[in-house]
């Protein structure tokens, strides 16, 4: 696996060009197009602000629009990056069949292009945090770490699914449904504290909250963003999450990344004949 990583590193310029290609194709080269990527989060912000302060004010969670945005932006990055990278290998057959290069750069560049957008969206989020008067604390310095953990997890899943889609072409269709379910199992619109600590499910007493954190790495990731940017729903200011929680989240993401690289590397040799 180390040789694979080294080879990807040797082709880092290709990675850069592919990321630029993705961004260019999306924005058709225009400067205005680049600003375009801010429009989406801005619209989201507007909608949430109107819906949750005017139409159905959520009083149990203070500054609910900020709370929601802290979950929606990371989730949107994850789901669009995964959805578009599913096709990244199977749609680039014309490249794969003609030139040898480390194919890992295909899903990787798709995720990174989306990551650039995600970073830009933070401009909007910070604007919103200021407008709503959510105090910014030193905890925000952990943001790059959380983003890195998030990125590792997203790349891991993307490597897995782009491999799967080479062999089973409806992976995207199935993932669309699964991502919906996954979205509802991730505390984007509700605080984790809303879930009961324990619950009887099918006759078993289960630690629901713990299970969700354990089985769904996105839950921990969203919780981390929220903790350092927003604080908690009971009104504590933004703070650094418990170090063992962050460590566990980081290790889980690293494991997914390693597994994704391993699976991709194992099947990579068959891509040129299958796409």
């Amino acid at each position: 696996m180390l040789t694979r990583i080294r080879e990807v590193y040797a082709y880092r310029e290709l990675l850069g060009i592919l990321v630029m290609r993705d961004l260019k194709l999306r924005y058709k080269n225009s400067v205005l197009g680049f600003l375009w990527s801010l429009v989406n989060p801005m619209l989201l912000m507007l909608v949430f602000t109107i819906v949750f302060t005017v139409m159905i004010p959520n009083l149990s969670v203070p500054k609910f629009p900020v709370f929601v945005m802290c979950g929606v932006l990371p989730w949107n990055f994850f789901s669009t990056a995964v959805t578009s990278s599913i096709l990244s290998v199977s749609h680039n057959g014309h490249l794969i069949k003609k030139v040898y290069f480390p194919l890992e750069v295909l899903p990787l560049s798709t995720v990174l292009a989306n990551f650039v957008n995600f970073c830009l969206a933070f401009i909007v989020l910070f604007g919103m945090i200021l407008v709503f008067g959510v105090p910014i604390t030193p905890a925000v310095s952990l943001l790059p770490v959380v983003m890195l953990i998030h990125l590792m997890f997203t790349v891991g899943i993307s490597l897995l699914l782009s491999t799967l889609n080479v062999f089973y072409r409806d992976t995207g269709v199935i993932m669309e449904v699964l991502l919906q379910a996954w979205f509802f199992l991730t505390p984007v619109f509700y605080p984790m504290e809303m879930l009961p600590e324990w619950a009887h499910i099918a006759g078993l007493l289960l630690p629901v909250r713990r299970l969700l954190y354990m089985l769904n790495p996105m839950a921990s990731i969203v919780a981390s963003y929220r903790s350092i940017l927003y604080g908690s729903t009971v009104g504590t200011a933004a703070h650094i999450p418990a170090w063992d929680f962050t460590l566990r989240t980081a290790l889980t993401s690293a494991a997914f990344l390693a597994f994704g690289l391993w699976v991709f590397g194992r099947f990579r040799q068959r891509f040129a004949e299958e796409v």
Partner: protein, 256 residues
Amino acid sequence: MTTGLSFSHVSKRFTVQHDRARSFQDLMLRMLQRQGRHLPRESYWAVNDLSFDIKGGETVAIVGNNGSGKSTSLKLMTRILTPTRGTVDVRGRVSGLLELGAGFHPELSGRDNVYLNGALMGLKKRDIERRFDEIVAFSELERFIDVQLKFYSSGMAMRLAFSIAVSVDADILLVDEVLAVGDPAFQVKCLHKIHEIMQEGVTIVFVSHDLDAVQSLCQRAVWLDRGRMMMDGECGEVLDAYVASAQEEDQDVQIL
């Protein structure tokens, strides 16, 4: 380091596409019908027990009928495909033109495609920058370089691809069947360029159905038939044998 490449008992098997579930939907249907396991796995040896050794600086042609495994052999040389059996040993940097449209993106301009293609071949950005003018000049596409590639004719795309491939400074150059779409003037220019590269000591593997071009370029030829090696030797002799067998087949058909 001595350059060159060798095949030792190389075979490549393709499993025929329709014998495997291509989607989860398919997979599920098959599981319901309980026939998933009973389907025969049809497979096809596109390259079968091929061994040869090409020394640095040689110019070798591969000839053979359609589907005889020429393109597959070249893909094995570039590592795009991995052999099912045997070993491929490539010594040196490989550049090549494998069929048409060498890894271009239709929505990007010619300029962006030069950078994309160069990076795909492992070139650094400044290496591409240094060669850029030379590439464009050789392709004679100055006026179209900022036009999206989807508006290029196939000959124009080939010109660009060829110009990039020969500017890479490779030790081994693979050329598969691409000159055919160029106009006569450009074909001559390409052949000249290949001659020039030959003089520099680059190893060249040339696949073409244009036997005159093969004759004029290569000293040695390998003739493949249905994935197997029929003959490997001096270019003229191999071509004569190949042409003779093709005529024989033709006569057989006429008798039938």
